[in-house]
């Protein structure tokens, strides 16, 4: 996917230059003993997790278990209180190096889409590439057209977010994240705010993205989708990672009682 892109080679993107730890055995994202508090409430409790390039992780768990907080810490929407998070060997802190590594590597899709309502779809997609990556507007437009094509709504480019259905808006949000050409995509319950008939079209786009080799961390309750896509399933409860296993083991014989109960509840209907 990255090589097939027209603007890719000429794009003035630091991601194109070498010096990367590519795939292999070293973790691309690494969390070590991460704690996060909101006041007195401990949202993350000693979380450690390694994710290699190309891996797809699906996180599930009851609400308030820290799933969203975990992925929000990975792109520093939340700052962790203890422990260490690093991406591509760069520790996430307030420094410029961390900002650079986030800009070049991490895209995010939100539950509520969070498109910019006053900007057209095209402007939504090109704002980041032009302002944060320094691409010239023509290149950014090509990029936007390319990714809108990939999320299957090229014809919506000149519309405004409110003119689109929820499923279309979420696909635009995915395209917006992709226009930054990240190596990791974070999905925070991407289908939870959607009407049932629109869930499939969004999941389909995410599955195709997974098929193209994108590294992904996805918080979702769509277990069918998780079974197709995930390399590893993660179950969280009370801020801790309780269980982590490949999907077949995870669904057939979960080790912990809590995970078993959760799966029973969620898969019952």
């Amino acid at each position: 996917m990255r090589n097939s892109h027209p603007a890719r080679l000429s794009a003035n993107s630091p991601a194109g230059t070498g010096g990367r730890s590519g795939g292999g055995d070293t973790a691309f994202i690494s969390l070590r003993n991460v704690d996060k508090y909101f006041g007195d409430f401990q949202a993350l409790d000693d979380v450690s997790l390694d994710i290699g390039l190309g891996q797809k992780i699906v996180i599930c768990g009851p609400s308030g278990s820290g799933k969203s907080t975990l992925i929000r810490c990975i792109n520093r929407l939340e700052t962790h209180d203890r422990g260490a998070i690093s991406i591509d060997g760069v520790a996430l802190d307030d420094g410029a190096a961390a900002r650079g590594v986030l800009r070049n590597n991490v895209g995010m899709v939100f539950q509520q889409f969070n498109l910019f309502p006053h900007l057209s779809i095209l402007e939504n997609l090109t704002l980041g590439p032009v302002r944060a990556r320094g691409l010239d507007p023509q290149k950014a437009r090509e990029l936007a057209e390319y990714y809108l094509e990939r999320v299957k709504i090229p014809e919506q480019i000149d519309k405004y977010p409110h003119q689109l259905s929820g499923g279309q808006q979420q696909r635009v949000a995915i395209a917006r994240a992709l226009c930054m050409e990240p190596r990791i995509m974070l999905f925070d319950e991407p289908t939870s705010a959607l009407d049932p008939e629109m869930i499939a079209e969004v999941l389909e786009v995410i599955e195709e993205l997974a098929g193209s080799g994108m590294t992904m961390i996805c918080v979702t309750h769509e277990m069918g989708f998780a079974g197709h896509v995930a390399d590893q399933m993660v179950f969280m409860d009370n801020g801790r990672i309780v269980e982590m296993a490949p999907p077949d083991t995870f669904f057939s014989k979960p080790e912990s009682e809590r995970c078993r109960t959760f799966l029973q509840q969620i898969l019952r209907h």
């Binding site: 800009r103 509520q112 969070n114 498109l115 309502p117 006053h118 704002l127 302002r131 944060a132 994240a177």
Partner: protein, 251 residues
Amino acid sequence: MSFRRLISLSTLFLALLFLGGCSGNWGWYVVNPSTPAGQRNLMFLLDGLYYTIALSVTAILISIILGLLVALPGLASQRPARVVNRVYVELVRAVPILVLILWVYYGLPQVADISISVFWAGVLALAISDSAFQAEIFRAGIQSIDRGQHEAAHSISLSYVDKMRYVILPQAIKRILPALGNQLVYMLKMSSLVSVIGMEELTRRANELVVTEYRPLEIYTVLVLEYLVLILVVSAAVRWFEMRMGAADKR
């Protein structure tokens, strides 16, 4: 709709005045446009309009910029920045505009060892005074924008300045437009206070004419009408502008 109301209000007001004029206590001759003297007086009064508008518009533009600069630290997560914002807003709001005008005109040149014209002293005092209110308006407007917009801007790595410029402020300004319109009307009225330091705007002109013609009732009535018409026109324009923005929103 508002234009029709403006006309009917003004006519009603004028009709009442002329009825009063019939009783003999009124001396409309001072502003009677059919006599050369009355015409001269009327033009003298209307001439003040230029400075009233120039003063208000310049002051409101400066106060919007100043207000935004004061509002931003008020939204920061660092406490010292918020303290700066609070202190500025509380201090400036506590000073009466008239006092600020006098201090800027007579006091500031001595303190800062500069000379300042009446016009710029008036603009500065009005702008400073209004900036505290503008800052509060901006703060409320920016705070009303959903957190998800900030997070989305963060997720595509926009800098703080880009986030404000391209994402947050365009949405916030649309929401605070009615409040900004109110401030403009307020400013037009407050600009009358600058007459005390000799600014030749509407109120000063009226005062000067009263001194030479000894007809305060008629001249101040004209002054009231001048402000009334000015402000009704501005309010109507603001409402029209808002409606247009609203229509653009529903696009």
